[in-house]
Amino acid sequence: MARVVVDVMPKPEILDPQGQAVANALPRLGFDGITAVRQGKHFELEVADDVDDATLAKIAETFLANPVIEDWTVRRVEA
C-alpha cells in the first residue's frame, strides 16, 4: 500500500473566485501580509503497490482534474 497525494489547482490564467474570496477576507480578519491565495483540491489515495506512475498520472488527468481549467501534481508519500 502506498499513499499518493494529488493536488489540483486552477490554472494561473483562470479566475479563482474561491482563492480570491479567501484573500479578500484575510485582512478583514486582521491577518496582513498574505498577498495572494489560490485554492484547489487535495486528494489522498490509498494505492495498491502494483499501480504504476503512468496509471496515477492518467487518473489525475482524466478524472481528478479538469485539464481545461486545472493543473495537477501527483506525488507518492511514504507507505
Partner: protein, 751 residues
C-alpha cells in the same frame, strides 16, 4: 512588450497581420483598411475580428431577421418599449410595470467545459437583463443533448445541469422552467440556451448609449483577466516577448463567479434607483470591444478610453487582450461627472471595483489609448453596427422531399396500447425531468407561483396587486426538420399554449435560433423558413418578437443538428392567484374535458422516434387561430374560476398528459375515449388542452366552448378514491407503477 500603435500602423503599412487566424476573410480585412485608410493596429484588428464574427455581427442572419421587424405591425408594437436591437426586449405589462426577457445560447462553451460553459451562459443573459435597468427575477434553461445513454451525454449533461444550478442558485434567481430534450443529432453539439426575465418600473428603463460630452465611462465589477481570449492569443504571441518567450495559446474558457455577479446586480440596482446612470452596457462576448464600441455607436458623440486604467487580473496583458477579454461579471456605465463620486460610493458599499476608464467626447471617433499612445482610432459604428452582411446561398435540401414522403403510416402500431402508455412515460424525452429540476432553486425570493412541472413558469411581479407573468420555451426539432416553416409555427403554438394553460395572456415572444452551419445552403434554407414561420405566426397571433439570439455552426462534420428555433412566449396575468395549476384533484369531483381536435398525426412524433427510431412525413397541422381561441377560453375559464387544472397536449399526446396530470395531482382518473384508442392517446395534433373543471362549473364551461366554437369532448372524471389511471376498454395503470416508470429513467441514466 512592444505595443502596436496607430502611429506604428501608419509607418508599417505592409506588415503582415494574422487576420485569417482571427476569422476575417480577405475582403473583410480589405474593408477594415478602407475604413481606416491604413492597416489596423493589433488592438483594432482584435476589435473588428470579434465584433464582425458571426456571433456578434449576425452577418449571415441579419438579412433574414429583418423579416421580424417587417411583419410587426404598429398594433403589435403598442406594448413594446424596446425591441430587437436592444440588449433585451421590453414590454409594458400594466400597473406601471415593464418586463424584459431574452434568451441566449452558450452551446459550444458548454460542450468544451460543461459546468463553466453553462454557468457563464446564465451569467451572461442575466447581465443583459440587468443592462435594461431591470431586476432579474427568474431564469429558464432549454437544453438539448445527444443520445441519453451516450458517453458524451453522461459527460456533458450532469456538468451543464450543475452549472446552470450552481450559477443561478447562487444569484438567487428562481429557475421556473426549461426543457431537456435528447436526440442523436445533438451529440457533440449540446444546446445550452438560457432565458432570463426581469422587471422594472416603466420609467426606469435604461438603454445602452453613451451620450453627453464629458460624461464618464465607468467599468465596474470583476477585474479583467485572460479568460476567453481564445483566438486573440495569436496576436499576443506576436507582440508578447518576455523572457519566458511567447505566450502559449490560451484556453477560450471563462470561469464564472456568481457571487461577484450577485453583488454586481444589487450594486447596479442601487445605482439605477439613485438615478445616477445615463447609459449602461453589460460586458459579454467580445468584452470591452463590444461595450465601448456599442455604447459609443449608439450615443451622440465619440469616446475616449484609457485602456491602461482597466484593473487587470493577469500581468502583461496587451491592449488587444484587454479589449478582447471575456472575463465575466463586468458592466460599463456612462455617468455624469457630478455623479461619479456618488457612483463610487455605492460601489464601495458593495465592495465592487469601479474605475473611470473613459469619457464621452464631442468627436465621432472611438479613441483608445494605452499609456498615452493611441492604439485604437475608429468610427465606432463601423465596429458595432456596420459589420459585413452576407446573403448566403439558400437551397432546399435535395432529400427534403424524400424525408416528407417517408411517412409514419406504415409503422407498426402497438397491440398493447396500455403497456405503451408506460413505455412512453419512461422514454427519456417524456420522462420526469425531476433529476434536473431538483438541482435548481425554484423558491428563492418568494415570487414563484408556478415552476416545474407546470406547462409554464409563473412569477408574481407586484406583491400588492398580484400582477405577474408566465413564460414557456418550446421547440420540437423533429417537426422543424420535417418542415422548418410549420415547425417554427408549432414551436410558437406550443409555447403560446403552455402560457395560456397557466391562465395568462400571451403578449410577446423571444427566440434562440440554433442551427448548423450557415455556409450550408440547406441549413440556410431551414433558417430562412423557420424565421418566416415564426414571424408569420407571430403576426397571426398578434404578438411581437421582441428579441432573440442566433447560434450557428452547431454541427459535427457535415451533419447539422436538428434545426432548433427555441421559442419563448411571455404572458401576463393580472392576478397570479387565479393561476391554473397542472395537477388534477384539487377539488372533489372534477370532470376532464379535452379541448381541440385529434387527428391521426404521427410525423415527427415521440412514438415514431422512441419506438421505431423513425423521422419522416409531415409534422402536425398548426392552426394559430385555433390556438388563440383556446388561449381566450383558458383565460376566461381562469378568470371566472371555472377551471381547476389544465395541461396542454404535446409530445406523447393525450396519454402523456393524462399520466402527468394524475401523477402531479397524486390522484387517479377514469378515462373514456371513442375511436381508435392508439390515435386518441398518442397522436400529437396541435391545439389541444386537457382541462379539469369542477362538476358545478361543467355546464357553464362547456356552454362557453360551444358558443365560441371551440371543439370539446368529455373524456373522463377525476377519481380521488382511486390510485390508478383507468382507460375504459384498455384497463388500469396503478399510479405507483406509472410513477416508477416516469421518474425512474433519468436517475437510472445519470446517478
Amino acid at each position: 512588450m512592444s505595443i502596436d500603435t496607430v502611429k506604428n500602423a501608419e509607418a508599417t503599412p505592409d506588415q503582415e497581420q494574422p487576420y485569417k487566424e482571427l476569422g476575417l476573410k480577405d475582403d473583410e480585412y480589405a474593408r477594415i483598411k478602407e475604413i481606416l485608410q491604413r492597416r489596423p493596429t493589433d488592438a483594432e484588428l482584435a476589435m473588428y475580428s470579434v465584433m464582425w464574427s458571426e456571433h456578434c455581427s449576425y452577418k449571415s442572419s441579419k438579412v433574414h431577421l429583418k423579416y421580424f421587424g417587417d411583419t410587426t405591425t404598429d398594433e403589435m408594437r403598442a406594448k413594446m418599449l424596446a425591441g430587437i436591437g436592444e440588449n433585451a426586449g421590453v414590454v409594458d405589462i400594466g400597473d406601471g410595470w415593464a418586463v424584459t426577457f431574452k434568451a441566449e445560447s452558450h452551446n459550444h462553451p458548454s460542450y468544451v467545459e460543461p459546468y463553466q460553459g453553462a454557468a457563464t451562459g446564465v451569467g451572461g443573459i442575466v447581465r443583459d437583463i440587468l443592462a435594461m435597468g431591470a431586476r432579474p427575477l427568474a431564469v429558464m434553461d432549454p437544453l438539448r443533448f445527444g443520445k441519453p445513454d451516450a458517453e458524451d451525454t453522461k459527460r456533458v449533461l450532469p456538468g451543464i445541469v450543475a452549472g446552470v444550478g450552481g450559477y443561478g442558485n447562487c444569484l438567487g434567481l428562481p429557475n421556473i422552467g426549461g426543457e431537456v430534450v435528447f436526440d442523436e443529432s445533438y451529440q457533440g453539439n449540446p444546446l445550452v440556451n438560457a432565458l432570463c426575465v426581469g422587471a422594472m418600473r416603466v420609467e426606469d428603463l435604461h438603454l445602452a448609449h453613451a451620450s453627453g460630452t464629458g460624461n464618464k465611462v465607468i467599468l465596474y465589477g470583476a477585474r479583467t483577466g485572460l479568460d476567453g481570449i481564445g483566438g486573440v492569443s495569436v496576436l499576443a504571441s506576436e507582440t508578447f516577448d518576455d523572457s519566458a518567450g511567447k505566450r502559449k495559446k490560451l484556453p477560450s474558457v471563462q470561469v464564472g463567479d456568481p457571487f461577484t455577479e450577485k453583488v454586481l446586480i444589487e450594486c447596479s440596482l442601487e445605482l439605477f434607483e439613485k438615478g445616477i446612470v445615463v447609459g449602461i452596457q453589460d460586458l459579454g462576448g467580445a468584452g470591452l470591444s463590444c461595450a465601448t464600441s456599442e455604447l459609443a455607436s449608439a450615443g451622440d458623440g465619440g469616446m475616449h478610453v484609457w485602456l491602461d486604467r482597466v484593473p487587470l487580473r493577469a500581468k502583461n496583458m496587451t491592449p488587444a487582450e484587454i479589449l478582447s477579454s471575456e472575463s465575466q461579471e463586468r458592466m460599463c456605465a456612462v455617468v455624469e461627472p457630478a455623479n461619479v463620486e456618488a457612483f463610487m460610493e455605492v460601489c464601495r458599499k458593495w465592495d465592487v471595483i469601479a474605475t473611470e476608464i473613459g469619457e464621452v467626447t464631442d468627436g465621432d471617433r472611438l479613441v483608445i489609448t494605452y499609456h498615452d499612445e493611441v492604439v485604437v482610432d475608429v468610427p465606432p459604428r463601423t465596429v458595432a453596427h456596420e459589420g459585413p452582411v452576407y446573403h448566403r446561398p439558400i437551397q432546399r435540401p435535395a432529400d427534403q422531399d424524400e424525408l416528407q414522403a417517408n411517412t409514419p403510416d406504415s409503422l407498426e402500431r402497438p397491440e398493447n396500447v396500455l403497456e405503451l402508455i408506460k413505455i412512453m412515460a419512461a422514454s427519456p424525452n417524456l420522462a420526469s425531468k425531476k433529476w434536473v429540476t431538483q438541482q435548481y432553486d425554484r423558491y428563492v425570493r418568494g415570487g414563484t407561483v408556478l415552476a416545474q412541472p407546470s406547462d409554464g413558469g409563473m412569477i408574481r411581479i407586484d406583491e400588492e396587486t398580484g400582477r405577474g407573468v408566465a413564460l414557456s420555451t418550446d421547440c420540437n426539432g423533429r417537426y422543424t426538420k420535417l418542415d422548418p416553416y410549420e415547425g417554427a409555427k408549432l414551436a410558437l403554438a406550443e409555447a403560446y399554449r403552455n402560457v395560456a394553460a397557466t391562465g395568462a395572456t400571451p403578449v410577446a415572444v423571444t427566440n434562440c435560433l440554433n442551427f448548423g452551419s450557415p455556409e450550408d445552403p440547406g441549413v440556410m434554407w431551414q433558417f430562412e423558413q423557420a424565421v418566416k414561420g415564426l414571424a408569420d405566426g407571430c403576426a397571426e397571433l398578434g404578438i411581437p418578437v421582441t428579441g432573440g439570439n442566433v447560434s450557428f455552426y452547431n454541427q459535427t462534420g457535415t451533419t447539422a443538428i436538428l434545426p432548433t428555433p427555441v421559442v419563448g412566449v411571455l404572458g401576463v396575468i393580472d392576478d397570479v392567484r387565479r393561476r391554473i395549476p397542472t395537477g388534477i384533484g384539487a377539488e372533489a369531483g372534477e370532470t376532464l374535458l379535452l379541448l381541440g381536435e385529434t387527428r391521426d398525426e404521427f410525423g415527427g412524433s415521440e412514438w415514431a422516434h422512441h419506438v421505431h427510431g423513425h423521422l419522416g412525413g409531415l409534422p402536425p397541422k398548426v392552426d394559430l387561430q385555433r390556438e388563440k381561441l383556446l388561449g381566450q377560453v383558458l383565460v376566461a375559464g381562469s378568470r371566472d374560476g371555472m377551471v381547476s387544472a389544465a395541461h396542454d397536449l404535446s409530445e406523447g399526446g393525450l396519454a402523456q398528459t393524462l399520466v402527468e396530470t394524475c401523477l402531479i395531482g397524486e390522484v387517479g382518473a377514469r378515462v373514456f375515449l371513442q375511436g381508435d384508442l392508439f390515435t386518441e392517446l398518442f397522436s400529437e395534433s396541435a391545439g389541444r388542452v386537457l382541462v379539469a373543471v369542477p362538476r358545478t362549473e361543467e355546464q357553464r364551461f362547456t356552454d362557453m366552448c360551444t358558443a365560441r366554437r371551440l371543439p370539446w369532448r368529455k373524456v373522463g372524471v377525476v377519481d380521488p378514491g382511486s390510485k390508478a389511471l383507468e382507460i375504459q376498454g384498455l384497463g388500469e395503470l396503478p399510479l405507483d407503477e406509472l410513477r416508477e416508470a416516469w421518474e425512474g429513467t433519468l436517475p437510472a441514466l445519470f446517478d
